[in-house]
Symmetry: C2
Subunit: 221 residues, 2 copies
């Protein structure tokens, strides 16, 4: 019998765990469920991840690496279309790792590794949004005082981080299912971007509204 | 020996549970901890609340009754000072029952009673904010299209509901402690109200900024 390389199995465990955590919430998924979902023994899973916390940390590290790769793209945003794509990419990433956002406070209260890392990620998000807003200001698409920019960047971070929680409260049975991906990502990106609307000059404002409408029309009712 | 009336004990259990849930998070507090914290036997606690879920539901019902009492006050808001007091009262209520907000998604995934009720509360909050914005619009303090009002009310709800989670991510060791009450409530009220700033006319805008500054100055650094 050919034994699968340990590396392959570890990756498969991560994929299976991510899917189950996203659907049912991390506190509701035991490692035995992950093993049985994959058709491997609990002992085999234990060999790769001796605790659920180690598995959560491995997934968080992947999420974190992708977020740290993506956020610097804020430095290149110079117009509204670009802002849209940037926000859409951010929400796709949030969606793929939605279990982290779904049970964030509970995860933070139990896991020291996440505690420090998540704080840094939130600060990086806030800096990226402030930079994006500053660039749109320089391009004369948007007008804000420094205080308004700080407030607006904070609002954008809260909206990005907890938008899926809001969708979940409104529709707990379906909001986190794979079928809701397009809806969750598009609505989320719209909600974050709409925070900029009142600061936009007339022409870019009409442009962003038209962009938002195109995507709203593309959504299933 | 005089036996305490059951009603009194049930209330004392609620008070103790609320305090422990708020500090440590509901998933991290077992009923045995609540009993030992109160110096009563687990059996006595079980006599009043046969499960932690029943205790959570009792606390949620108190929270919900207070929220349903408070939200209609939005109908009377006609100026900015009034808006400030309304928002401050809302945040004080959120703070007193912060365990609900802290672990909202986890609670919702485990508890059918909360699932339906919380959805209604979020809808009521959103309607209250839309009403408040409409009144400020009528009073010519603020100018918004109907679409802008809808977006703004949604942003205010997300900010009211998850502001403490944002504070918690940034400062997990202290944000939920009693000593942070004043800070959490004032900053939260400010963040929600600052969503209205870009829509305000010049005079009320200066007035709200001054109001926010007075309260910011009153906060310990």
């Amino acid at each position: 019998m050919v034994k699968k390389a340990p590396r392959r199995t570890a990756e498969r465990i991560q994929t299976a765990a991510l899917q189950l955590f996203n659907r049912f919430g991390e506190p509701n998924v035991a490692t035995t469920l992950i093993a049985s979902d994959m058709g491997i023994s609990p002992g085999n899973l234990f060999y790769h991840y001796a605790s659920k916390e180690l598995l959560v940390n491995a997934l968080f590290d992947s999420y974190q690496a992708e977020m740290r790769d993506l956020l610097p793209a804020a430095a290149d945003v110079r117009d509204l279309e670009h802002s849209w794509f940037f926000m859409h990419s951010l929400f796709e990433l949030v969606w793929r790792y939605r279990f982290i956002y779904r049970d964030l406070n509970d995860l933070l209260s139990k896991n020291r590794h996440l505690e420090g890392q998540m704080k840094d990620i939130v600060a990086l998000k806030e800096a990226a949004f402030a930079q994006l807003l500053a660039h749109l200001h320089t391009a004369k698409l948007l007008q804000q005082t420094a205080t308004e920019r700080t407030h607006c960047a904070t609002h954008m971070v809260v909206m990005l981080t907890w938008w899926l929680s809001y969708e979940y409260v409104r529709n707990p049975r379906h909001a986190m299912e794979d079928a809701s991906a397009q809806h969750g990502v598009l609505h989320g990106a719209q909600q974050v971007l709409s925070l900029m609307l009142p600061y936009l000059a007339d022409t870019p404002k009409a442009q962003l509204q038209a962009l938002m409408q195109v995507y709203a029309d593309a959504l299933p009712a």
